[in-house]
């Protein structure tokens, strides 16, 4: 593996291969979340248990309101955990970690900053100076085809372009774990296919750990190494399957029988999870 000229900043193409998988990178242990609201308590997550190995792209599927976002927020340290615990890289999560990347449903870009400034925003907050990360920002923006838009403001971009900027921002600090909460749900079907292809492409080079929340079964099957299905509230993980399609993933894969069979199976599992409650 060659390293980039900048030295300390790892280049995207030179990341190390998957690390040891004997101890899980993330373990979610009997996690429960209750929101205390004015109209009483809401049990958003009942009891969730799973482990995730380093390097896996894991999708979480489940009906609306079953607590997927809540679970992700707890993993990111953005919500408190009511009981149980989440351990990432050997440390229980209590507050936001510095080695995570986030992509939310909404791109949440700073409207007054340019595309490049937005991508570098996490670095500006962390280090003050962003100079050392310009090369990496360029590499990421080129990967998603937005380098020539680097000096544009978010409002001059389409929704899909904005979400790509948000993905670059999520990856700028070379996170060990990327958390994505329905990043493409606001996009139309065609942009969504484009984004899936772009993300699969990014993933082939980046190859870290990712949690990806989605409502789209096809999207989950296309992108993931593993898929967790959550049941409706009281929510738990009701199905867990590995997806062993070869990488790099290509759009044509979606026409194969295996792909569609897996989608059908998952649909059935989601329906079962829906009836559970």
């Amino acid at each position: 593996m060659t390293t980039h000229a900048t030295g300390s900043i790892p280049a995207i193409r030179s990341l190390k291969p998957l690390t040891d998988t004997s101890t899980p990178y993330i373990s979610v242990e009997s996690v429960r979340k209750v929101y205390h609201t004015a109209d009483g308590d809401i049990e958003a997550v009942s009891k969730v248990d799973f482990d995730i190995n380093s390097g896996d792209f894991v999708s979480i599927l489940g009906p609306s309101g079953c607590g997927k976002s809540t679970l992700m927020m707890m993993m990111g340290g953005l919500e408190t955990i009511s009981s149980g615990r989440i351990v990432i890289g050997g440390e229980p999560v209590t507050a936001p970690r510095g080695d995570l990347g986030y992509v939310f449903q909404d791109p949440t870009l700073l409207p007054w900053n340019t595309v490049l400034e937005n991508v570098l925003f996490p670095i500006r907050l962390r280090d003050g100076s962003t100079r050392k990360y310009h090369d990496r920002a360029q590499e990421l923006l080129e990967l998603v085809g937005l380098w020539e838009f680097r000096n544009k403001r978010p409002r001059q971009l389409s929704g899909g372009m904005r979400q790509r900027v948000a993905i670059c921002r999520g990856l700028i600090n070379d996170p060990a774990l990327l958390l994505m909460d329905e990043p493409f749900s606001a996009l139309d079907a065609i942009s969504r296919d484009d984004m899936n292809a772009a993300l699969a492409d990014i993933w082939d080079r980046f190859h870290k750990t990712a949690i990806f929340i989605t409502h789209s079964i096809r999207e989950a099957v296309f992108l993931s190494d593993r898929i967790l299905v959550m049941s409706r509230r009281p929510s738990t993980v009701c199905y867990d399957i590995r997806v062993d399609f070869p990488r790099p993933r290509r759009m044509e894969m979606q026409e194969t029988l295996e792909f569609n069979e897996l989608c059908g199976l998952l649909r059935k599992k989601i329906e079962e999870g829906y009836k559970v409650s």
Binding site: G77, A95, F104, T108
Partner: protein
């Protein structure tokens, strides 16, 4: 694919239908300037015509032409000499109340305790009919320009506080969540997110403050006058010099307009620079 091709021609035909009828093909930006200007010119012409037609004495209401003549006759040195202190004092009061307003809004938004303790009182203070307090400022600050500037600040800083505070508070919750995820400090959130977000709000408060700061100075001049356009207006009214009153008011209007325009220009410059 075929669907998007089918949508194309429908969309373009809708565009041609939407074209306004011939005769109103004026650029909307140009129209926004020309339409009110023509209306104003029409009203002034009406005024000009109405005075002789209805036989209104010039002491009650001089026609615009007479006001213009008097303005030119007396501009140098009389009107100018009185305009300068009014303009300077208004500008000083505006700058101080803008700074004070923004700083106070910053303090109120960053400290919950200060806010709970102070803000209701600030709001309550505003319920006082402030003009009635003008004489008090003379008691406190004497009859110099300090008392007028202090009074002007007193009435013009509040809109800046309210507007800026609204901006600092209304920041997108999602952006705040992102900042939290990125472990930004309170100060970083303030500097990188709240302040840029609040800039348009701040300017809307400052635009109101331009008018208020002029009102403050004029009222101050009414109360303790030795110089200034407010003094000139009082003086002219004592002499029944209605044309001079209107001439002074004209100068005030032009100043107010230019002042507001400068603030609006500063805003659009800053917004363009910040791209918001």
């Amino acid at each position: 694919m075929t669907q998007s091709q089918m949508i194309q021609p429908a969309g373009s035909s809708a565009m041609t239908v939407a074209t306004p009828p011939v005769g109103w093909k004026l650029d909307p930006a140009l129209r926004a300037i020309i339409l009110p200007a023509v209306t104003a010119a029409g009203l002034i012409a009406l005024w000009e015509a109405a005075v002789p037609l209805l036989g209104i004495p010039h002491v009650l209401l001089p026609p615009p032409s007479a006001i213009a003549v008097r303005l030119v006759q007396l501009f140098f040195p009389l009107i100018l000499q009185h305009a300068i202190p009014t303009i300077l004092e208004s500008l000083i009061a505006f700058v101080i109340s803008s700074i004070l307003g923004v700083v106070l809004a910053g303090v109120l938004s960053s400290s919950k305790i200060v806010r709970e303790a102070l803000y209701p009182n600030v709001v309550f203070f505003q319920l006082i009919p402030k003009i009635a307090l003008a004489p008090l400022f003379i008691v406190w600050f004497g009859i110099g320009s300090e008392s007028r500037i202090a009074f002007s600040i007193f009435i013009s800083f509040f809109p800046v506080v309210v507007a800026t505070l609204a901006g600092l508070d209304n920041v997108d919750r999602e952006l705040l969540r992102l900042c939290k995820a990125l472990r930004a400090s309170e100060w970083q959130v303030f500097r990188d997110v709240r302040i840029p977000f609040a800039i348009p709000y701040m300017f809307s408060g400052m635009k109101i403050a331009t008018t208020f700061s002029i009102i403050g100075i004029i009222v101050g001049e009414f109360v303790t006058s030795q110089a200034g356009l407010g003094y000139l207006i009082l003086f002219a009214s004592a002499q029944a010099e209605t044309e001079l009153i209107f001439a002074a008011i004209t100068v005030l209007c032009i100043f107010g307009l230019v002042f507001y325009g400068l603030v609006a220009m500063a805003e659009s410059y800053l917004r363009k620079k910040l791209g918001s």
